[in-house]
Each structure stands twice: as C-alpha cells, then as structure tokens.
Symmetry: C2
Subunit: 439 residues, 2 copies
C-alpha cells in the first residue's frame, strides 16, 4: 500500500523531533501501522525559515514558507500542526479539515479554547483530529482515558501536567530556595521559557485539564470556566511546614464529578507524601485517574521535550493511518463519547468546591489568639484536622500558626478567612492552600 502522505507545519523542537523519530524508527513504525508514513511537505512561518528547514529535511521534502500551500496540497492525507498558539493554527487546522484531511496536533491552547468548533467541523467532513501530544507529552493519557477506561464512570482526575512548575516545586523543596531564585535557574536550564507566565500561572495546565475533563465526563471543552491559580506566590516556608505535616505541595490540575456538576481547577495543592504522585519529581508528569470499576490508575512519564512529544504525535499518525480507510462512524469519538451522548453537566463555581485547607497565619504571640481563630472556624462549621505552631524566639512578638482543616466548601472558607483577616492579632495576609487526600 502506498505510504500515507503527511504535511508538517512547524519544524521547531517538536516538529524536528517528529521528523527524526519518523526517520529513525521507520521500519518499526511501518511494521506496526501496516503502511509507511512519509513526510511529503514541511511548512514554516516564512520563506527564510523555510530555507533553514530545507537544510534539515534534505532536498527530497519540499519546504514552503506558506502553510496554506500545504493544507491545500491535494497529495497530503494528514496535516500535523505543531506551531502552537491560536492563530494562524486555528485557520490552518480548519482549512485542512475543510479539504478533507485528517489533523494531528499538539496544540492544547487551540483545543481547550476552540475544540468544539474544530471537532464539529471534523465530524461534518468525516475526518479525525488526533491530539495525544496535547496533554502530558509522551504519556498516552488521552488513549487511556478515551479507550482504556471506557468501562468506567470516571470520578476524578488529578494531574501534574506541567513540567516547568513541577521542576520549580521540586527544587524549592529539595534545596529550600524561594520561587524567584529557582525560576531563574529553571530558565537558565531551559526548563522555563523567558516569558514563563503560561506555565507558572497554571494556564498551560488548565488547557490540558480542560481537554481531559471533556473526555472523562463527556462534556464540551470549556476553558473559560476553569479556575486557574499558579505557583508564583508560593513561599518556601509553606513547603517546609507542609513537609513537617507529612505533605508535599504540587501544582495539580483537578477535575471531579459531583452530583450537581463537575469541578475544573488548577492550583497548588497539599497531598500526602506517601502518595505515588507526591513523589513525582523534576520535570516529569503524572496523571491519577479514579474510576468506579478500575479504581485508581496512574500514568507517568515525560510531559514535554522534542522526542517524548513526538512519540505522541507519531502514535496519532499510526492511529489515523489505520483508521483512515475505516467508516468514520466507528472511529473513537474525539471526546470519548459519541456527539449525541454528550452531557451538559455544568462546571461548578469555586465557592461550591469542597476541599480541605492549609492555612498559615502570622499572629501576635499572645494569649487567646488561637482561641479567637478556632472560634471563627467553628462558627463557619469548619473543623480542624491539625494545628502546628512555630515556637517563637525570645523577644519575638509574632509567630506562624498553621492549621489543617477537614473538607469544607470554599465559599464558607472565604467568609471565615475574611473574619480572621480582620482580627488585630493577625499580622499579615493569611496564606491558604488547598489540600487533597487523593484517595
């Protein structure tokens, strides 16, 4: 059978990785796919870059500075979009679909924001949009959620799905350094970008979480309703106190089914140090899935990088190659559920989300302080799990008071926090980090 023809838009880190993996492992890949997979054309942002790409891919593969030429090329069966960002990626993907081409993309932002439009267009044209590389890099988590766990009602997903922030948190804990210092180190090592906002503020994790939640619960992607909180204001002291209490702080993306809707949130989270996911260090990713039949499963691996991401792109290419000739009605649905089986379960507002909390209060070191604070918590029906009070040094007039609570609604906690913050004996803004048992 004639090799399937692939057009590659973008030959940056992941694009070059994809090109290399397809070359190096072509015998194995053909042996699995039952058909060769060939790069027929590469597109760059402009003519100059196309020339640089030409040097990489050799004379046999034409490079163009005009991606429209690629998506309109009738010889191409599958378009691989690896430029990232919203435009021109969105226009190119939609144009490829309109031309009846399958699409493979690693673009989480595009799918988290415009997935509904893109999947609908693909369905109308009977083509597949595959996106394993968009979530957790080389870990085949989309396949696990969408095909491996089809028997289950998925209850929740919690993931370390951003390597940059996990690297920073690992370093802060391991070396006792503060956020700003470690961020600079991460930038020097190439683990963080020069503008790290998307990573450190949790936006990248929220894109990925949005896609996983849609697949898990059969709901449309709705990034705009995600609660997104990053790690830039996290202090080394809280990592240390958490450790004393038996917890690690990780930036988790959490989506959880509740009776009246589902949660969709990214924020720093205390988790028991004994959990496997609490021991995922450095730039590695891991996703825990809780489902009714299988129980807890965990998937671990590299969430970024040239070849780990290429691994997912090429797996999608093999899947699409196999299914290209199959009846569209029998392919795996984009979001796991058939379009007529999608649900309109709403995203819950954060005020209704139930979690436990870690609180750190800088308080005046005098009698009655703890009593006033615990009274406020009791008045809001918030019960206390543990209290840790730092011993104040001689002559010091203030100390740190750490409280772990049991589960409570965030809205109620916010009211209690406002009251506590108003006490004259509370001397600084209260630090509040959510805590999850993940069991």
């Amino acid at each position: 059978m004639k090799p399937i023809q692939v057009g590659l838009i973008g030959l940056g880190t992941v694009g070059a990785g994809t090109f290399n993996v397809l070359q190096r492992n072509q015998t194995e890949i053909r042996g699995r796919a039952g058909r060769g997979i060939e790069i027929a054309m590469v597109a760059a942002r402009n003519a100059e870059r196309a020339k640089a790409y030409q040097a990489i891919v050799g004379d046999a593969v034409p490079c163009t500075g005009d991606a429209q030429q690629l998506v309109n090329n009738p010889a191409i069966d599958i378009v691989v979009e690896l430029i990232g960002g919203i435009e021109p990626a969105r226009t190119l993907v939609l144009q490829a679909i309109a031309n009846g081409k399958h699409v493979v993309t690693a673009n989480k932002a595009l799918l988290a924001l415009h997935g509904t439009e893109i999947f609908e267009a693909a369905r109308e044209k009977g083509v597949t949009v595959a996106f394993e590389a968009a979530v957790a890099g080389g870990i085949p988590i989309i396949k696990a959620l969408r095909e491996g766990l089809t028997a289950n009602r998925i209850e929740w997903i919690a993931g370390i799905i951003n390597g940059t922030t996990n690297f920073i948190l690992s370093e802060m804990r391991g070396k006792g350094l503060d956020f700003a210092t470690v961020l600079k180190e991460a930038q020097r090592l190439g683990y963080a970008e020069s503008d790290p906002t998307f990573d450190i503020e949790g936006v990248d994790a929220a894109h990925k979480l949005t896609i996983m939640s849609a697949i898990a619960f059969g709901v449309p992607v709705q990034f705009d309703k995600a609660h997104v909180e990053g790690i830039s204001s996290l202090q080394a002291a809280d990592i240390k106190y958490a450790e004393q209490l038996g917890y690690r702080i990780k930036l988790l993306g959490i989506t959880r089914r509740r009776d009246n809707g589902f949660e969709l949130r990214v924020h720093p989270t205390l988790i028991p140090a004994t959990r496997l996911i609490a021991n995922v260090e450095g730039a590695m990713n891991a996703v825990v899935v809780q489902a009714d039949a299988v129980g807890t499963t965990l998937y671990y691996g590299k969430g970024a990088g040239a070849e780990p991401t290429a691994s997912a792109v090429v797996a999608d290419l093999v899947d699409v190659t196999r299914l290209a000739t199959a009846d569209p009605d029998h392919r795996v649905p984009h979001l796991a559920f058939q379009p007529d089986a999608m649900s309109n379960t709403p995203v819950l507002p954060m005020a209704d989300v139930q979690t436990a909390f870690y609180l750190r209060l800088v308080v005046a070191d005098q009698a009655g302080v703890l009593s006033r604070i615990t009274t406020i918590l009791a008045e809001h029906d918030i019960s206390i799990d543990a209290v840790l009070q730092r011993e104040s040094a001689d002559g010091e007039r203030q100390t740190d008071l750490i409280i772990l609570t049991h589960d409570t609604a965030e809205g109620r906690m916010n009211e209690a926090l406002a009251k506590m913050q108003g006490l004259p004996t509370v001397l600084a803004p209260i630090v509040r980090i959510r805590k999850e048992e993940l069991a």
Copy 2:
C-alpha cells in the same frame, strides 16, 4: 444500531464483575461505543452451576452448562472467555474463532502458551482476539504498548505484574516477617490462593511478561524460554540488608532488547528505593517501559480483582464493537506488529544476561576471608560496588558478608559463585539476588 451480542463463558469473580459493570455503566458505555453491548448468553462448566448463574443474571439471559452451545450460537458476535487455564478454554476459543466470532479473554496462560496458534486462526478468519485483561488487570498496558508507544523502539519493560507476591514482599518488609508467615496471612485475606504456586513461583508473572515481550519486540510468544524464579526462598534478612543499602526487593518481570536477542526473565530483584516502582506497595501492579523516543513511562493500578479486571474486559468489548465492521487489515495487530513484520530475535540464555548482583555469604569471622572472596570476583572480572559486613556479636564465630557487584554476565557470576561456595570459610549456601538500576 442493534446492540452487539456477547456470550460470556464463566461467571466467577471476573465474569460477575464484567456482568455488573456492563449493567451499571451501560449508558456511559453505549455513549462511548456508539452501540449497546448486551450479554446474550452465559455458559457455565456444568448444568448445576448454570442454574446458580441463572439466579445472578436473571431470566432474560439464558444460561447453559454446555459452553459449546454458546460458541456455536449464531446470534452471538463476541465470545468472552473467563474460565482460565488451558482446556477447555483453548478448544472453546478456537471454536468461536472458527465460527467467525471475535474473542475477548483474560487468559494469560492460554495466550502465553498457545497465542501463536490462536492469533493465526483469528487472522485467517478476519476476527479479533482482544486480551487487555490478561496483563496487569485494569491497567491499560496492552493498549499503551501496542498503540500508545507505536513511535518507539522499546528498549525494556520491567513490571510488578503479580499482586500476590507484591503484597507478600510489602508485608515482609513492613513487618519484618518471614515468607511463610506472610503467605498464610495473604491466604487468610484472600490475596493468595490455597495453592499459591503459580503466583509465588513467578509463573503467572512470566505468562504476562511473555505477552508484553511479544508486543514490545514484535516476536512470537514463547513462554517456554522464559526464566522463572519466585519468592518462596526469599529471606527476611536479605530484605533488611537491601534496605540498609538503599534498595527494595520486588518480584519483577523483565524483558530487555540486546544486540543478539532479548531477555525474558522473572525473579526477585533489588531496585533503588528512590524509583517510583520501588514504592508500589501491597497488591498493586506497575509496569515501567523504557523506549527510545518517549523515555521512561510508568503505568500503575490494580492488577487483579473483579471490577478492575472487568474494566479491561469491557474496554476490549468496546474496541471490538467499534472495529467489528472495519476492514480487518486496518485493525490493531494482535501483537502490535503486522504478521509480515514479526522478527525472529531469539530469547537469550540466562548465562548471557547482564545484571548486577547482591550476594550474602555466611562466613567464618576470621582474617583473610574478605580477601579470598574478592580475589575470586576479581579473577572473574566482576567488580564490586559496595560491601557491608555485619558486626559479629561477642563469641560468635560467623557473620554475614553482603556484596553488591557491578553488572556482569550471569554465566561468569555462576562460575565465581561455585568457587566461593567451595571455600571452607563460606559456611552456608550463598544467597544471590539480581539487582537492576532501572534507569
């Protein structure tokens, strides 16, 4: 579309779990599969048992004591074989295939021993034999290896793929108990069978490893060439010494690609305590895969039990339901590679396998003992990584000498061991456990 009709052979733990999951999650499963999945008939070993089954499944589903009736029933599209063992499972599966039915099975022994015959028969008839449940229960590891990592040249797999033995090892370490005591406890709790041989002697793990190795390397299943060693002779003392040296002992199934063949072996193994897989406790399973593009990935979950295994059976039912109408040539190949792309890479003999070793020698507490032993190792080109000598109590004439070696061929180690065992100052059989860094 008419629901697909399933015949279920065996309504034991996993069969009943499958029946329950299909009932409970039928809306979700239909929403994903695009078509209902219905149990049309159940078969039991005999008429009496069929009657007991009838009480479970209700009047709407006929139960028979003659499984031939089920595999010959023209109304049935997919046969699910959950009776285990070689016969009558083999005959029933081949008969179902001959009748043009797809098969879903959890039977690792059957596939590890007769997979070649079964897959060949399925290919001739254009049907699928799906077996996610045969390896690591609910963890979708077959899907990950066969579809998620298609881009990769897989280098090695190391797995905790038997829950019984991992439970026993966790208890031995956690409570400092010996093997026999913990085995009894495991039997009382239902983690070990009354005849635990298949589990504790590594046979069950070797069945699963054989299937994974075939998928990873594109070779036929060849259980007869696997090296199989269990945990029944493992002593609490070695678990303790290993821990002092920074290692855990796990029963691992390891298959690794080498230049001249591949390794296929199950045995107790020291692994660094810092590895994620070293921290997999109790009856849980985990599989680490090392592959050239993606690097290290790990898959963790419940490897046995009614609903975890049912989760895998039903996932296979959904896959088969989707692909039932597709061209057989475009389905995922049984062993990942298309039949014409299979390789004849041989299984390496254990003498050629390279690992590091943990040795424990009971030696006379006198001068020159260590020197004689290290000389023998040096003569065999085996280099030492670490030595630990237990301080002998007053008046004691013997002590434990623990040696960690660097990597060496097993054949060479066996020669050195024979020499050391012959020394008059070596007072008991030498304990030898392989050690792997898994990195």
